[in-house]
């Protein structure tokens, strides 16, 4: 008998509005839209301060995902008409497919700028673990990129891989972090490959051998952490160290990356997934201030 399949990989979509800002008082409303491979965010800023954001899953169609993310953010504001928007910048994997954007900027530049905003100007190294790529970025106190690397050829060690694993093991994605530490005795060694396809078959074998789900999660998280660190290492690590993207919410991987890095990661109240879109909105604000905004 077919049972309804639970979607363990599904993470919570959210939107938020800043109660302290009234959009009517703003000189410039700028919007950043980050269409990633797995998630899409829209951040609306009023003169460089976050007014509202929406964070949701990317669908099969980039223009629609961009529009939905914007709609989701505007829903949070409630009464602001869409044409109040002064400038809109698209970023991320699907940035050229944002039909209403005035221009697009690469996610490298946007993530550095966004991390500078959500973590503060002390950030020098930004690690972004997204749905399908890993970015390691060094930036200066203004959030300008000084050194970067993006591994977008292979999705090993990324968010999508974690989704596949949570589904395989039947562990809800937001519990993966804690569960991966709930093993008995010594921490199991990392799985030998982070390649999602190979790791999945290796994990199936381990389960067959009698490993618990927690042990398998620990082994996979460890392998991901090692892979992520090997990319960070190439760019180099400078304090302060900040993590953005969905994987920043996964303690199982991050608590295993940080001992390798040898630093503590910075903390923030913001949703780490909005960094790219926040950066894009800030670039929009910078352009508007320079008088390089939309021609009216």
């Amino acid at each position: 008998m077919a049972e309804e399949k639970q979607e363990f990989w599904r993470w919570t979509e959210s939107n938020w509005k800043n109660p302290d800002i009234n959009w009517n008082d703003a000189k410039f409303i700028t919007v950043g839209i980050d269409v990633g491979s797995v998630s899409s965010q829209a951040v609306a800023m009023a003169d460089g301060e976050v007014l509202a954001y929406g964070n949701m899953r990317t669908g099969s169609d980039s223009p629609n995902s961009a529009r939905n993310a914007l709609k989701f953010a505007l829903e949070a504001i409630g009464d602001m008409p869409e044409d109040r928007m002064d400038y809109c910048i698209g970023t991320g994997y699907g940035r050229v497919n944002v039909p209403f954007a005035d221009r697009s900027i690469t996610e490298i530049a946007c993530h550095a700028r966004g991390a500078n905003f959500i973590y503060g100007p002390e950030v020098r190294t930004v690690l972004d673990v997204g749905g399908q790529d890993i970015k390691a970025i060094q930036c200066d106190q203004k959030g300008k990129v000084t050194n970067f690397l993006m591994n977008d050829k292979c999705a090993a060690g990324t968010g999508r891989g974690m989704e596949v694993f949570s589904d395989l093991l039947g562990v809800p994605i937001n519990e993966v972090g804690d569960r991966s530490f709930e093993f008995q005795g010594e921490e199991p060694a990392a799985v030998s490959s982070t390649c999602v396809v190979y790791a999945k078959s290796e994990a199936t074998g381990l389960l067959r051998k009698g490993w618990t789900k927690e042990e398998v999660l620990a082994a996979y998280c460890k392998a991901m952490a090692e892979r992520i660190y090997s990319l960070v290492e190439r760019v180099g690590v400078k304090a302060e160290f900040a993590v953005t993207g969905g994987m920043a919410k996964n303690r199982g991987v991050m608590d295993r990356v940080m001992p390798l890095v040898g630093l503590d990661r910075m903390k923030t109240e913001w949703d780490t997934q909005i960094a790219g879109a926040a950066g894009a909105a800030l670039f929009g604000f910078a352009l508007c201030k320079k008088g390089k905004g939309r021609k009216k």
Partner: protein
């Protein structure tokens, strides 16, 4: 800015680094590369507020560097790499 284009996979690290502080966007690397992996843009895509031309490794090529660069990298008697020699500013380097 050090722009690292390329990837890391199970067979190794394949990155071409362009130092955008040295690169003046002259474009000498573009015809020098037999695989045509470089292009010059009027604006640095990773530094949108700086309006200077700069060389980048173009889109799809950066995911195939191991293969695109292979003909210039014989296992013995390796001559100087054409892209590295062509760059007067010394802005280009390879990781492998």
């Amino acid at each position: 800015m050090l722009a690292n284009y390329g990837y890391k996979d199970a067979s190794g690290d394949f990155f071409i680094t362009i130092d955008t502080d040295k690169c003046d966007g002259c474009g000498d690397c573009v015809p020098a590369c037999p695989a045509k992996i470089f292009e010059v843009l009027d604006e640095d895509p990773n530094d949108p507020l700086r309006d200077e031309p700069v060389a980048i490794v173009s889109g799809e090529k950066k995911k195939k560097l191991k293969y695109e660069c292979n003909p210039c990298k014989p296992s013995s008697d390796r001559p100087a790499l054409p892209c590295v020699s062509a760059c007067g500013a010394g802005a280009i380097s390879h990781s492998w």
